[in-house]
Every structure is written in structure tokens, then in C-alpha cells.
């Protein structure tokens, strides 16, 4: 009996304690409130000295730290700071600039490229960077497959494939590499500048094998320290970086905070110093805050309404031009992009070389649209299906709503559009079979070359893959093929300008927008130039 009482007493005691704990926890919270009053929260950056540590808040985590192993943009945001490419893009465009290679010479026939490499560069593990390292990287990639190295397909496939562009990579001497090609590929140098083709340390590749994606070693301004999946990636300064006096920062921490508003809260609270993926609706709040500033990223995408040109009445050029006149792009941008986009008149975004700025856009003019419909033989309009994208993308944040705006202005010229949608997988499948009258889609550039937009999306060779409009123009095709084979960039730019004129006239699409993503950061952050590719090299970033 006593034993039983003892147990019961102890149970009651436990209950009491738990109850008391409630009181205590409430009390201690209050207590700590008072204690901490006036104190700065610990996460805020120390004042007085110049900050050397940057916390970059972003929406998602990296997939891998080996850039060649993925096509996922979040990965490259980190790897461009660890790895360097042979050729760099310009600071805010996709022109060619020296990288690990200081100069490059194409042969007359475009079948050979000789690259002079930068001397005195070392990988983070102490391995020397030289021609041998370049050869080893390319051999690793070309002996893989599309699952391992998806972006290597920019070079037409892998070793042994019929379309493979690179025949051989030869180390002429320690600092000269020669690329021998099977066939000319004009965007070849642009491809070399793509972040997936960052040169990795051959020693580390051998040492880590399949684990290299978690232990990246490059030549870049920052060295890898730690990766906590879905949480943060830490990089520290590479003290032996070849660029004198750089990088400015001691440490970069990439944090993933998926929710845009929560990420902004973290920025406001000082837990992060820089963020991407700002909601357009938060723009006024940031601009009104004296401690913050915004950065606009030049666009490298296009959102468009495509017409399947082999389906009547879209086989009539006048009909397509009429519909081009009947879309209020400015209104759509104001309503759904928070003003953070520019109206598109070409399939190419303006940041790319070869963009034709002389093209006069089709103005929003319903009268003109009606006239064109009469001329085309549809004075009373017609009925059509309008397919809306089921998933949000930077170039199309809300396909359904944009479709509704288009639907209502089409209705004013007598065109009855029925909005339809289906799951994303089926959407792409049906679009590539040409089963839609008109459909919304978009594209984000891979290598910053016009070929990657115009040939990929509108050449007759791309019918069945990404030319969902089934648009086929032989004159255009000849121009695009010629532009693929001549190595001279100036000549190529002229050809692409001509191509855009043809496309403008034929109007297989109504180009809608190029969206310009927004970043926000602390006011004293200097030297950040957001890159159109979406991955920013932070070498020159510093705090004042």
C-alpha cells in the first residue's frame, strides 16, 4: 500500500512540475524580454568595423556542387564562385571576356580553336592549373552521358555520338590548348563560357570520384567550406586568387529560405545581407527603407504566345499579325509582373548580342487588328482555343490570369478564345505535337547566344522538339545555319538581326515579355552587378 502511495505521489509531483514549468517558461520569456531590451539581436552584423561576411538568401538549395552534373540554376549561383570557365561572360551581358584563357584564336574554317591559358593559377588544393587539367576535364565530360553531364549536350552529344562537335582537345604546351572540332559550331566559345563548364581540379576529381559533387575544388575566388542541405552553403576567400586584391569578401554564406516574404523579413531583420526573388509587391516597402537598395537583373528570357502555324486560321500571316496588335503587353506587365518586365518585340532578350532594336513592335491597336482580320477574310472573327501554362515561371508568373487578359482583348476584335489548360507534362507533350491552336510558353537562355533562342525555338529543324509553332521558313533556316558555321561574331550578329526581321514579319508568335528579376540588399553593399544568366560572381562585392 505504501509503495503504491509513493508512486502516486511521484506522479502527482511530475504533474505539478510540468504545470510549474508552464508558468516558468512564460515567466522566463518575459524575463529574457526585459534583459534583452536594448540589446541588438546576435545575428545582426557587428557595427564599427567593415563587414567581410556576406549572407545571401535565396529561394532554393543547390542540387549539386559539381556544376556539370545538373541544369539547375540554384547550383550555378554557388559554383560560379568556386569554379572558373575558360572564357567569361561580360559583367552584365553575354559578350566574350578573358577567363582562365586569356586569348583565343579560331582557325579560318572554324574547325580549330587555340586558347592561351592564364599562367600561375592554382586550384584550391594546390594543383597547378594548366593545359593538362583542361584536357582532363573535357575528357571526363565527353566520356559521360546525358544523365551525368546534361549540359555537355550543348556540344552536340558525347564521344561517339554522330553530332558530337569536339573531336579532340590537345595540350600543345603547358599553357596552350587546342580544340579540334568535327564540324564548325559558331556558339562554341559562348558554350565554353557557360557556368557548367567550370574547370575542376583533376587531383580532386580523382580523389573524390562520385563524391566530387559534395567536395568541389576549382580555381575561383572562393573555396568551398561546408554544405548543409536545404539550409546553407559556406564559402571562404581563396587567399591565392590570381586577381590581385580580390576577392573583397572573407566569407559567403548562401542560405535557402523558400518563402519570398519570409526571406524579406530575414533581410529586414539583418539576418541576411542580400536576397534574390523579391516579390514585385514588396518593391515599395524596400524602396522606402533607407537601409536597403534594389538591384535589377537584366533579362535573359522570353515569354510568348505561340500560334501553331499549320492550323487554320493561324496559317494566315495576317491573322497572326492581327492578334499581335490585340495584346496589351504594358497592361499585362503592370498587372502581373509588378512592372518588373519589359514588353517583348523579338524572340531574343535585349541583353544578347545580335538583338535587333530597330524592329518596330506591333502596337496595341484594336482598330488595326480588326482591319487586318477583314483583310484576312475573317470580318466576324473566329473561335479558337487558348492554352495557358499550368505552372509559374519567371517569364510567366500566372499563365491563367494573363490568358484571361488576352482573351478579353481578343473578344473585342471578335475572336472568341476558350482558355484551356492541362498538367505540365501533357502540356509540353501536346504542344510539341502541334495540337494547340495558340499556346503560352517561354524560354530562358542557356549560353547567351542568339542561336540558343532563334534556332532552338523557331527553326524548322526544331519542329517536334522546341518549335511548338511548327513554323518553317527556308530563308530563315539558311540564315540560321550560316550563322551557326561562321566564327566571326559581328557577321553573325548581322545575320541574327535579319532573322528577327523575318520572324517579325511572319509573326509565328506574339512575343509578350522579358521579365527582369529583382534583388534586394543592404545599402552599404557595393560592386554587385547582377548577371543575366542568374548566377553572380561575387569577386568584387564588398561592404562600405
Amino acid at each position: 500500500m505504501f509503495k503504491r502511495k509513493g508512486i502516486l505521489v511521484s506522479i502527482l509531483f511530475l504533474l505539478l512540475i510540468s504545470t510549474a514549468l508552464v508558468g516558468c517558461s512564460g515567466g522566463s520569456e518575459e524575463g529574457s524580454e526585459n534583459q534583452n531590451e536594448g540589446d541588438k539581436p546576435k545575428e545582426e552584423t557587428p557595427t564599427g568595423e567593415v563587414q567581410k561576411e556576406l549572407v545571401f538568401g535565396r529561394g532554393g538549395d543547390s542540387v549539386s556542387l559539381d556544376p556539370i552534373s545538373t541544369t539547375e540554376g540554384e547550383t550555378f549561383k554557388v559554383t560560379v564562385n568556386i569554379f572558373e570557365t575558360l572564357i567569361n561572360y561580360g559583367e552584365q551581358d553575354t559578350t566574350l571576356q578573358p577567363g582562365l584563357a586569356t586569348e583565343w584564336t579560331p582557325s579560318e574554317d572554324g574547325l580549330e580553336y587555340t586558347l592561351k591559358l592564364r599562367e600561375g593559377v592554382k586550384f584550391h588544393d594546390g594543383t597547378d592549373f594548366n593545359a593538362d587539367a583542361v584536357v582532363k576535364n573535357f575528357e571526363r565530360w565527353m566520356n559521360g552521358d546525358a544523365d551525368q553531364f546534361p549540359y555537355y549536350t550543348m556540344f552536340g552529344g558525347f564521344k561517339g555520338d554522330e553530332g558530337h562537335v569536339i573531336k579532340e582537345v590537345v595540350a600543345e604546351d603547358d599553357f596552350t590548348v587546342k580544340f579540334i572540332l568535327n564540324r564548325p559550331q559558331a556558339p562554341f566559345l559562348k558554350n565554353l563560357a557557360m557556368s557548367p563548364f567550370g574547370i575542376a581540379s583533376p587531383t580532386a576529381l580523382e580523389k573524390f570520384g562520385g563524391d566530387f559533387m559534395k567536395n568541389p575544388v576549382g580555381t575561383g575566388p572562393f573555396k568551398f567550406v561546408e554544405w548543409k542541405e536545404n539550409d546553407r552553403i559556406t564559402l571562404e576567400k581563396n587567399p591565392d586568387y590570381w586577381m590581385e586584391g580580390y576577392p573583397k569578401l572573407e566569407k559567403i554564406i548562401f542560405r535557402s529560405i523558400p518563402e519570398n516574404s519570409a526571406r524579406l523579413n530575414a533581410l529586414l531583420a539583418g539576418e541576411i545581407d542580400l536576397m534574390d526573388g523579391v516579390n514585385p509587391s514588396d518593391l515599395t516597402q524596400i524602396e522606402g527603407n533607407p537601409d536597403l537598395q534594389t538591384f535589377e537583373r537584366p533579362s535573359m528570357n522570353v515569354g510568348y504566345l505561340g500560334f501553331t502555324v499549320n492550323r487554320p486560321p493561324f496559317d494566315n500571316k495576317l491573322v497572326r499579325q492581327a492578334l499581335n496588335h490585340a495584346i496589351d503587353k504594358e497592361g499585362i506587365i503592370a498587372a502581373f509582373y509588378g512592372g518588373l518586365a519589359e514588353p517583348a518585340k523579338n524572340p531574343l532578350p535585349p541583353a544578347l548580342e545580335g538583338y535587333n532594336d530597330d524592329i518596330e513592335p506591333y502596337p496595341y491597336d484594336l482598330e488595326k487588328a480588326k482591319e487586318l482580320l477583314v483583310e484576312a477574310g475573317y470580318p466576324d472573327g473566329f473561335e479558337m482555343e487558348l492554352w495557358a501554362m499550368p505552372v509559374p515561371r519567371p517569364y510567366m508568373p500566372d499563365g491563367m490570369k494573363v490568358a484571361e487578359v488576352i482573351q478579353s482583348s481578343f473578344a473585342e476584335i471578335g475572336v472568341k478564345a476558350e482558355i484551356k489548360s492541362v498538367d505540365w507534362g501533357t502540356y509540353l507533350e501536346q504542344a510539341s505535337k502541334g495540337e494547340f491552336d495558340a499556346y503560352m510558353l517561354g524560354w530562358t537562355g542557356d549560353n547567351g547566344d542568339p542561336d540558343n533562342f532563334i534556332y532552338t525555338l523557331l527553326d524548322k529543324d526544331s519542329i517536334g522538339s522546341n518549335n511548338y509553332s511548327y513554323y518553317s521558313n527556308d530563308e530563315l533556316h539558311d540564315i540560321l545555319i550560316e550563322a551557326q558555321t561562321i566564327p566571326d561574331q559581328e557577321q553573325r550578329n548581322e545575320l541574327y538581326k535579319k532573322a528577327q526581321e523575318i520572324i517579325h514579319e511572319d509573326s509565328p508568335w506574339a512575343p509578350l515579355v522579358h521579365s527582369t528579376p529583382l534583388l534586394a540588399g543592404k545599402k552599404n553593399l557595393k560592386g554587385l552587378l547582377p548577371h543575366p544568366t542568374g548566377s553572380d560572381i561575387l569577386t568584387k562585392v564588398e561592404f562600405e
Binding site: 509503495k3 503504491r4 502511495k5 508512486i7 502516486l8 505521489v9 506522479i11 502527482l12 504533474l15 505539478l16 510540468s18 504545470t19 508552464v22 517558461s25 529574457s32 524580454e33 534583452n36 539581436p41 546576435k42 545575428e43 561576411e53 549572407v55 532554393g60 542540387v63 549539386s64 541544369t71 539547375e72 552521358d145 546525358a146 544523365d147 546534361p150 549536350t153 559533387m213 561546408e226 548543409k228 542541405e229 536545404n230 539550409d231 546553407r232 559556406t234 554564406i253 542560405r255 535557402s256 529560405i257 523558400p258 518563402e259 516574404s261 519570409a262 526571406r263 523579413n265 530575414a266 531583420a269 539576418e271 498538367d423 505540365w424 507534362g425 501533357t426 509540353l428 507533350e429 522538339s465
Partner: protein, 359 residues
């Protein structure tokens, strides 16, 4: 004074020198309960297995998206085994599970069993703290509301509980951040730790890691990071537990033995916290079990708003990237936890109320 009624005596089975018959019944009950878990687990694998086959269209095309080439689609189809007959695919799937193979993530190309623990640990830490808050506050609020039925406390607590049940977590989370981090400057908005002074991870359970490392300052920081998300996560279960406790307590407190105890002069506090609570605890325990299981999976929203690298986020990211193996295995792991928590609750019933094991 401590004479109790014989109904559902908390520890009678343990204290009355373990009659052999009792032990056998308890053992049989335990076996029976565990036996009932097996078909549930099989059912779960069937549902999870079907996920990938229920999406319209070719899963490989959907996973690869706009840049898919025909070869890539074919390769992925083979890799996922989608070209095999269904029953063979299921058989292979079960065989993998039994050997601890949860598949390989399409996104990260890593074995899921290798990468899942840190996520799970983050969620377990969050869920446990949230459940402690929900139980301690919820149970006590329910008891006091029943004790002082129709008092101002009762009304206030029950109105708060009603608000709590219907509160959108998303909104609550952002409001918490706004109030406690931005306006009052007391707590951090997001994450598990101060990234400028990171925790040296050993077990991935940061509260434990900071103690092992002897960093009490970091322990406090980690605790501070836990407060906002766990309160947000605790809101709904806290409200539900409070309401269930209150109604269950009210029922018990109206019964004869409580009146007898009062008549014998037992202090009200003991009547409430000992005699009544013990008899009212079964439905409360049921709700606690269900809610704990729900929290594990239901933390997706909380983890998203608070940038918490937990299993909910893991599944959420996988959905965004159409990483079906991760979606399948993530759901399976969470569901398994759910089943086992409820098994434990079932076994606790038998300990608390000996009558249950005879049913």
C-alpha cells in the same frame, strides 16, 4: 487519503506483484496490436508506390520537362524501371525497402537513405518542442477550463482555442516574424541557427549537439530559433488538445466517484489533477498521438515559412522538381512514424486503462 477507486487504477498492473495472467494478456494485446500494423504498412507501400503511376502522361517526360530529349526519356524510364510490368516494379520496390534502399533522388543523384537523416532530425526537433508546448499548455488550459467551467478563463481559453484551430499557419508565421523579430527585435526570423556562428553538427539534433560541444550560448541561440516555428506549429494541436481535455474532464468530473471524493473532503486540486485527469486521459492521449503524427508531415508550411531544413521542406522541394523517388520515400518515412506513434499510444492505453487490453 490516497485511497483510490478501483476503476482504471494507473499502476495496478505493475504494483500488484504481476499476476502471470495479467502479463500474458498484456503481451497478447501487444502482439495483436503489432500484428495489426503490418497490413497498414503494406497498404502504405501500395499507395506510395502508386503515386508515380497516377500522374497523367509519361512520368519520365514530366520529370525531365522542356529540355527532355527522346534518349533522356528512354534512359530515365529504364532507370526508374517504368518499362517493367507493374507487379515486378512493386516487387522490386518492396525488395529495396526491406534492404533499406529508399531509392535515389533524381535531383541530387544521391541515395535517399544517405541524405534523409538531417532533414528528419530537424523536423523531429521542431515537432518535439512544438508538442511539448501544445501538450503542456493545451492540457492545462483544458483542465482549468473544466475546473472553472463558465468562468472568464474558460470563455477566453475556448475562444482562443477556436481561433487557434482556424488560424492559417502561413499568416500566423509571417505575423510572428513581423512582431517578434522586426518590431520587438527579440527572436530571429528564419533558420535553425545563427549562420554567422554555425553549430558543429554531430547528431543533427542541434539542441543536443550544442550541449555535447559545451556551447551553452549556441544552445540558447538554437532555442531562440526554435520558438517562433514551434509556436506556429503548436497552435492547432494546442487548441485541439485543450478542447478535448476540457470536454473529457467535464464528463468525468460529473461522475459519482468525483462527487464522493469531494464529499470525503479531498481537496479540489487533487480531485482534478489526480482522480479526474487519470480517467479523462484516454481521449486526450488519442488526440496527442494523432496530432504528433500529423505535425511530422504537416510541418511543410511551417518549415517553408521559417526556412527550416526539415523533412517537410525535403518533400516540398521534391514536388517542385518532380523528384518522385524522394516524394515517395519522404511520405513513406513520415507515414511510418505516424503509424508507430499511434502504436505506442495504443500500447499506452493498455497500461493506463487495464480494461482495454481485454477488448
Amino acid at each position: 487519503m490516497f485511497e483510490t477507486d478501483q476503476r482504471g487504477d494507473l499502476f495496478s498492473s505493475l504494483t500488484s506483484t504481476f499476476p502471470i495472467k495479467e502479463v500474458i494478456t498484456l503481451f497478447a494485446y501487444t502482439l495483436r496490436r503489432i500484428g495489426m500494423v503490418i497490413p497498414v504498412l503494406i497498404g502504405m507501400t501500395l499507395v506510395v508506390f502508386s503515386i508515380i503511376h497516377l500522374i497523367p502522361g509519361n512520368p519520365a517526360q514530366i520529370i525531365l520537362g522542356q529540355r527532355a530529349t527522346e534518349e533522356a526519356i528512354a534512359a530515365l524510364t529504364t532507370k526508374l524501371g517504368l518499362d517493367q510490368p507493374l507487379y515486378i516494379q512493386y516487387f522490386e520496390y518492396i525488395k529495396g525497402l526491406l534492404t533499406g534502399d529508399l531509392g535515389e533522388s533524381i535531383r541530387t543523384k544521391t541515395a535517399i537513405s544517405d541524405e534523409i537523416w538531417p532533414y528528419l532530425a530537424a523536423t523531429i526537433e521542431l515537432t518535439l518542442v512544438a508538442m511539448i508546448i501544445a501538450i503542456v499548455i493545451g492540457v492545462n488550459a483544458g483542465i482549468i477550463s473544466a475546473w472553472f467551467q463558465n468562468s472568464w478563463f474558460d470563455y477566453t481559453a475556448m475562444v482562443l482555442a477556436l481561433i487557434g484551430v482556424s488560424m492559417p499557419i502561413f499568416w500566423l508565421g509571417l505575423m510572428e516574424q513581423w512582431a517578434f523579430a522586426l518590431q520587438l527585435d527579440l527572436l530571429p526570423t528564419t533558420g535553425r541557427e545563427n549562420v554567422r556562428d554555425p553549430v558543429d553538427s554531430i547528431t543533427s539534433l542541434y539542441l543536443i549537439d550544442t550541449l555535447i560541444n559545451g556551447r551553452t550560448d549556441q544552445f540558447v541561440t538554437v532555442l531562440k530559433h526554435l520558438i517562433l516555428p514551434s509556436v506556429a506549429l503548436a497552435t492547432i494541436p494546442m487548441a485541439i488538445i485543450a478542447r478535448i481535455t476540457r470536454s473529457s474532464m467535464l464528463e468525468v468530473m460529473r461522475s459519482d466517484f468525483v462527487r464522493t471524493a469531494r464529499a470525503k473532503g479531498v481537496k479540489m486540486f487533487w480531485v482534478v489533477y489526480k482522480h479526474s485527469l487519470k480517467n479523462a486521459v484516454i481521449p486526450v492521449l488519442t488526440v496527442i498521438g494523432l496530432q504528433t503524427g500529423l505535425l511530422l508531415g504537416g510541418a511543410i508550411l511551417t518549415e517553408t515559412i521559417f526556412g527550416w531544413p526539415g523533412i517537410g521542406r525535403y518533400i516540398y522541394e521534391a514536388i517542385n522538381y518532380r523528384d518522385y523517388p524522394v516524394i515517395q520515400s519522404g511520405i513513406l518515412v513520415v507515414a511510418t512514424f505516424f503509424v508507430f506513434i499511434n502504436l505506442i499510444v495504443d500500447l499506452l492505453y493498455a497500461v493506463i486503462d487495464p480494461r482495454i487490453k481485454y477488448r
